[in-house]
Each structure stands twice: as structure tokens, then as C-alpha cells.
């Protein structure tokens, strides 16, 4: 039950993009069409869902003082987390290149840039600071990824529609994406602080 609450909370209430503004670069740059946004969103769900449990295991059994090595190695946290994330992204890149070359070209540089997508590393650091257990960290990873996926598909859908509106030419495209994200962020601010565990009672 806790895991479901964490999933809902991380997907909707504490949305990575619209509440914490993490992972903005690829969010804004790849949201031109729903199809590409969908592909990148799935890749982010996968990377977050995989790296979060791996990083949890590394943090609990390798880096913490009560772990297998009996020494406090938390100063290695950044570099190890980033290494795990980079290798997972490299894996995803190879898989996408093999099975969907069209998606691979349309994602371009923003596929390797998932590595430095702050939502991924930020997610792992949130998981540590909130002291989640293993199942909770899986739920948090999948929920955070799903929230990111939802946000980018939403923005892409709005941008596809707004192409038919009479936006001033210099504001078309990227400028409008910034302002739309700002408005979506204001909308999500009103969800902040809702506690699904309390609502269920």
C-alpha cells in the first residue's frame, strides 16, 4: 500500500518536471511531436526504474557504514551513481539504435543526455534523503519516470495543437514551450502538499 502511495505521489503530486523542474533540457527540446516524446518518456521510465533499485542496493550494501565493507564510503556516492546511470543509458542507447533507428535519429543528442538528466540523479538522491526501502525505491523510480513521461507527452500534445494558433512568429516553438511549462508548473503548484496516505483513510 505504501508503495502505491509513493507511486501516485511521485507521479502526480511531486512531479519531477512540473513541481521540481528537474530534467528540463530534454523535456523542452524533445517535446516537438508526441511520437518522439513518447519514445523518450519510455526510455526515462526504464532508466529511472532500473537505476533506482541498483543505486539503492549500492548505497545500502556498499556505501553505508552498516554495509558489507563496514566503512562509511558515502563520499563515493556521486561518482558511483553517475557511473550506474551512464552505463544504463549506454545500454538503452544501444537497444534503441538496434531496434528503432528512426527514433534514434529523432532523439539525437538528447538520448545520451539522459545521463545528465537531473531527474535521474536527482531521483536517486531524493531516494537516499527520504530513506526509502527497496520496494519503495522501485515504486519511486517507476512513479517518477511515469510522471516525467506524462509531463512530456502532455507538453508535446499541447505544442502539436498550438501549431495551428496564431502565435507571434518569434515566440513560436521554443519560446512558447518555455511559457507553457511555466503555466503547467503553476498549475501543479496547487497539488503540492496533498498526502495520498491521508486521503485513503
Amino acid at each position: 500500500m505504501d508503495a502505491i502511495n509513493i507511486f501516485i505521489k511521485s507521479a502526480f503530486i511531486e512531479n519531477m518536471v512540473l513541481a521540481y523542474f528537474l530534467g528540463m533540457c530534454s523535456f523542452l527540446a524533445v517535446s516537438k511531436s508526441v511520437k518522439t516524446a513518447f519514445g523518450l518518456g519510455l526510455a526515462v521510465i526504464f532508466v529511472l526504474g532500473i537505476t533506482m533499485p541498483i543505486n539503492w542496493v549500492i548505497n545500502t550494501y556498499l556505501l553505508s557504514e552498516s554495509g558489507l565493507l563496514h566503512t562509511d564510503l558515502t563520499f563515493l556516492r556521486f561518482i558511483l551513481f553517475i557511473a550506474v546511470i551512464a552505463s544504463m543509458v549506454q545500454l538503452v542507447e544501444m537497444v534503441i539504435e538496434k531496434f528503432s533507428p528512426a527514433l534514434y535519429t529523432s532523439l539525437g543528442i538528447f538520448l545520451p543526455l539522459i545521463t545528465v538528466n537531473c531527474a535521474i540523479l536527482g531521483g536517486s538522491l531524493f531516494m537516499i534523503s527520504r530513506e526509502y526501502n527497496f520496494t519503495e525505491s522501485v515504486a519511486f523510480g517507476l512513479g517518477g519516470g511515469f510522471g516525467w513521461f506524462l509531463a512530456i507527452v502532455m507538453l508535446a500534445a499541447i505544442r502539436e495543437k498550438i501549431r495551428y494558433s496564431d502565435v507571434p512568429a518569434p515566440l513560436r516553438g521554443l519560446g512558447m514551450a518555455f511559457i507553457l511549462t511555466g503555466l503547467m508548473g503553476i498549475a501543479f503548484m496547487s497539488l503540492m502538499g496533498i498526502d495520498p496516505a491521508a486521503l485513503a483513510k
Binding site: 551512464a86 543526455l113 538528466n117 537531473c118 512568429a169 521554443l174 518555455f178 511555466g182
Partner: protein, 237 residues
């Protein structure tokens, strides 16, 4: 995203020829990392609520992009494609640690104020974006200039946004530095005291400006202004 892959220069050329100057100046306007390439937005939202952190981060990013581009470009034939991201990240993390230790040694108060943001340079996509797009395919000297140019283009936007946010959000400018200016506010510490000044009694600091959302709107407007003057960037699709 603009494609900046430049063919490698064969013959001997002066250190700062036409092409090199283009590498250095292009990112300030035509190929700005934030408003055109869409790189490094996260940190642009996080640090720009005041001018001081923006300036320090900009200087640090210029340093890190320049030297990581240089090193990656020197190693570009040695790094296998399958592990290139990890190799790049190790170089970036090393440089960021150097910046962090330098700041800690020479300016501890600023380090205390900024410690989290300095670490965030590792996940700043400008650095890795330029490594992937330029340094992996170009010689060390152009790559180094490209790094400096992109750092400067990023810094220009960052400082612009932070001036607006600090002025309208907090009523001050350069707070925390020796040249701190308290411009408008409700106490007598400020130049324009809104409680006594008859013309500004309506003025209240805008709390929205302190939130990251404000940076989205400001950068959106920056893009609007830039594209009004630079028609070739206008999105026709």
C-alpha cells in the same frame, strides 16, 4: 538543435582566425546554449534567483566546459564508443571537483553558500552536450574555444535572468557581494523605502520571481526578444 559539426582543419592556421572567432562568438547569439540549443536549463532555473550564485556558476561552467572539451578532444581517438559516456563523465567530475576544492580553499564563504550548486555542474547538460556534439569530432584548439564560447553564452543568459529575478523578487542587486545594492523595499535600508516614499507606496516585491517558474517565463521572453531581432532563428514549422 543547430548542427555545429565543423570539418577538421587541415592546413596550418593562425590561432585566432575567422573560424576560431566564429566558434567563440556564435554561442553568444546565433547558437546560444540556452535559447537555441536548449542545454543547461535546470541550473538556469535553480541558481538564478540571485546574481552572486549565477556569476560564480557561470565562471565555473566556462572553466569546466573549456577544459573538459580540451581533454575529451585530446582523447577522442582513444575512447571506445561503448564507454564514451562514462569516460566523459569521469573527466567532468574531475574538473568539477577541482573547481570545488579551489573555491573551498580561496573563498570559503562563497563555497558555503554554493556547495550544492557546484556539484550540480556535473549534471549540467551544456558540458556533456558540447562534448558529444563538438569535442568528440574536432581538434583540441577549436574544441577548447567552443567550450569557452558556450560557457560565456550560458553565463550571459544566466546573469540576465538573475538580475531581473533579484531586482523584482527581492528588491536588491548583487546581494552578498561588496557592491550590494538595496534598491527597493519596505525598510529604511533600501534606497526607495516603500513605507515612506509617496510615489512607491503601491510597490510590493513579486514573490513569483523567487520561484523557478519565473525563470521559465523570463527565458521565454528572452527567446521572444532574441528571435525578433535575429529572424533566422525563427521556428517556421
Amino acid at each position: 538543435m543547430a548542427d555545429t559539426a565543423v570539418k577538421e582543419v587541415k592546413e596550418k592556421k593562425p590561432l585566432l582566425g575567422k573560424k576560431e572567432r566564429k566558434l567563440l562568438l556564435d554561442p553568444l547569439n546565433d547558437n546560444n546554449p540556452i535559447t537555441v540549443q536548449v542545454l543547461g536549463i535546470c541550473s538556469a532555473l535553480a541558481v538564478t534567483s540571485m546574481v552572486l550564485p549565477s556569476v560564480v556558476i557561470s565562471v565555473a561552467v566556462v572553466f569546466v566546459t573549456a577544459f573538459s572539451s580540451l581533454f575529451v578532444s585530446l582523447l577522442r581517438r582513444k575512447i571506445p564508443k561503448q564507454v564514451r559516456m562514462i569516460a566523459q563523465l569521469v573527466i567532468i567530475a574531475f574538473l568539477v571537483t577541482v573547481v570545488e576544492l579551489l573555491l573551498k580553499a580561496y573563498n570559503y564563504p562563497v563555497y558555503k553558500q554554493l556547495s550544492v550548486y557546484i556539484g550540480l555542474i556535473i549534471t549540467n547538460c551544456i558540458v556533456m552536450g558540447r562534448l558529444e556534439a563538438f569535442a568528440m569530432a574536432n581538434k583540441p584548439w577549436p574544441a577548447f574555444l567552443d567550450g569557452i564560447g558556450n560557457g560565456l553564452g550560458y553565463g550571459a543568459i544566466l546573469i540576465g535572468v538573475s538580475v531581473i529575478r533579484e531586482l523584482f523578487g527581492k528588491g536588491s542587486l548583487f546581494a552578498g557581494t561588496p557592491i550590494a545594492l538595496n534598491i527597493i523595499g519596505p525598510t529604511s535600508d533600501y534606497w526607495i523605502n516603500t513605507t515612506t516614499n509617496p510615489w512607491f507606496s503601491w510597490y510590493v516585491n513579486n514573490n513569483l520571481m523567487v520561484l523557478p517558474v519565473a525563470a521559465m517565463f523570463i527565458i521565454g521572453v528572452f527567446i521572444w526578444v532574441q528571435r525578433t531581432f535575429n529572424q533566422k532563428l525563427v521556428d517556421v514549422s
